[in-house]
């Protein structure tokens, strides 16, 4: 479904991704794990076309995403839930949800999808007139996911959704990711929370210093000696 093929990405003169290749198949949850600064966010930003690769290609269902301007990606059915939520702080919860459904089919089904988003997150419904900037961290993450859901995506990319949440909320967010996946949305998840994500994913890739160094099923990676030492602290 999504095919990233040997992309090299740089900020100015500073190259941060080297020959990164991986693939996400329809219906999967694929995790990209890596330490701070490994290039995880950079990878997602490149898929979203916010950054252009110097070389390499990105294909989604046969369509070249790297050839599209960044504002056209969401219409292809790919939504990126960025690191740090990036909500519109001076807009209400409801308006933030609306912003996820500006075009095409998503716009037509806006209020229908909104009901679904409120079913996923009853908390958001209670607070629908509240400004996003005044929500708690957990509620903001729910809203960020809800805003993504509003675009009727086929592929959802999450950039560290567990960041800054209490362990209990982290559980909630991950079970939500699973739920979204069970309803037919393919998931690409970027995380540092290696232990939990490896046990819930279909396949995973390890990104180190801008290179993919390992890949396999969640179980395979959990059993890998290097992963154990470097990420699981065993």
């Amino acid at each position: 479904m999504l095919k990233v093929d040997s992309i090299n990405v740089a900020y100015g003169d500073l190259q941060v991704l080297w020959d990164v290749s991986f693939e996400v198949r329809e219906g999967e949850i694929v995790v990209l794990v890596g330490a701070n600064g490994a290039g995880k966010s950079t990878t997602l930003k490149t898929i979203s076309s916010l950054l252009k690769p110097m070389s390499g290609t990105i294909e989604f269902e046969g369509q070249r995403l790297d050839k599209l301007p960044p504002n056209k990606i969401i219409e292809q059915g790919v939504v990126h839930i960025p690191e740090g939520r990036r909500l519109f702080p001076d807009m209400t919860v409801e308006e933030n949800l609306i912003m996820g459904s500006l075009y095409g089919e998503a716009k037509k089904k806006r209020y229908q999808t909104m009901e679904y988003a409120y079913e996923l997150f009853p908390r958001l419904k209670e607070r629908r007139k509240q400004l996003a900037g005044t929500l708690s961290g957990g509620e903001q993450q729910m809203l960020a996911v809800g805003r993504g859901v509003m675009s009727l995506p086929r592929l959802m990319m999450f950039d560290e959704p567990s960041l800054g949440l209490s362990p209990l909320l982290v559980q909630d967010i991950f079970s939500l990711v699973k739920k979204v996946n069970q309803e037919g949305v393919t998931v690409l998840l970027v995380e540092q929370n290696v232990n939990q994500t490896l046990s819930m994913c279909h396949r995973a890739y390890v990104l180190e210093n801008g290179r993919i160094t390992l890949s396999g099923t969640g179980d395979e990676l959990m059993a890998n000696q290097h992963v154990k030492e470097a990420y699981l602290g065993i």
Binding site: L50, P70, N71, H80, R86, F88, L102, S151
Partner: protein, 291 residues
């Protein structure tokens, strides 16, 4: 007491128009992060359009709104698209240089006006230009009241647009987080073009509405750019509600200054406020109103 009330009334009426000028600038500030220092000069262009329509085609100034607003929307959109947006793409050019570009645009507009119309004062006199309604001893200048009414109308329309339409929401979203807006499918350079157009159309409306009351000459733009700047700072950069309040405050302050200090000091009052705000309320009224 009557003098005082009269002063306040006049201040509020002119303040309504100042608000509309300030909102235009503040919208542009919010989305692009730059102060548009050609704002008053765009208003001047709208005033000359009104003058030409009235003088040569005998069109009532208020009808000129229908011409001047769309014309300035297009002019503003054109400026953003062809002169300002290309600067963003060049990495070595700092965003501040867009501001310098607007200064240049303002100068060019002024000199073009001088070339075509000379520096002579122009006026558009109408039958109602100096008519007034009296309530008790307080006079309400008719064109000022009409202008105030239009200003209320356009401001309400703008708020409806920003709050209730997808395009309006996209403008706010871009102002709040442009990258997140892009991820939601918003074409931010198109939004900047539309926003500059709307800001220009609003200041055009203000120019048309001032035409029956003011003298027109090519350099009038500069004074209004400064007023818009003061209002934008006073309101808190990027705050539309702040700009409305800021406009009224400036109008009333100028009016008080003219009555109690002297006509010649009217303009100075604005700068005194400007400096006081920077010292005592950096961030402007937005700090108090939060929007």
């Amino acid at each position: 007491m009557d003098v005082f009330i009269q002063t306040i009334v006049s201040g509020i009426l002119i303040g309504g128009i100042y608000s509309m000028i300030g909102i235009g600038m503040t919208l542009i500030m919010g989305v692009m992060g730059i102060i548009n220092l050609a704002h008053g000069q765009l208003m001047m262009v709208a005033m000359y359009i009104t003058f030409v329509m009235a003088h040569f085609f005998h069109v009532d100034p208020y009808l000129s709104l229908l011409v001047a607003m769309p014309a300035l929307f297009l002019l503003g959109a054109f400026i953003q698209k062809t002169l300002l947006n290309p600067l963003i793409k060049v990495e070595s050019i700092l965003p501040e240089n867009q501001v310098l570009m607007t200064v240049g645009i303002g100068m060019v507009l002024t000199e073009i006006a001088r070339f075509i119309f000379s520096s002579d004062y122009k006026t558009v006199k109408t039958s109602y230009s100096s008519s007034a309604i009296f309530i008790g001893k307080i006079s309400f200048n008719v064109p000022m009241c009409i202008a105030f009414g239009f200003a209320l109308f356009f401001t309400a329309l703008l708020f409806w647009f920003l709050l209730k339409t997808d395009l309006g929401r996209s403008i706010r979203a871009t102002a709040q987080d442009s990258e997140a807006a892009t991820l939601m499918g918003i074409n931010s350079s198109r939004i900047t073009v539309i926003t500059f157009g709307i800001g220009s159309a609003l200041v055009a409306a203000a120019g048309v509405l001032l035409m029956p009351i003011f003298y027109l000459f090519p350099d009038i733009g500069g004074a209004f750019t400064l007023k818009a700047f003061v209002i934008t700072i006073l309101g808190g950069l990027g705050s539309t509600v702040g700009a409305i309040v800021g406009g009224i405050v400036l109008g009333v302050a100028e009016s008080l200054g003219a009555t109690y200090i002297g006509m010649g000091y009217k303009e100075m009052v604005g700068f005194v406020i400007f400096v006081l705000v920077l010292i005592f309320l950096p961030g402007g009224l937005k700090r108090l109103t939060k929007i």
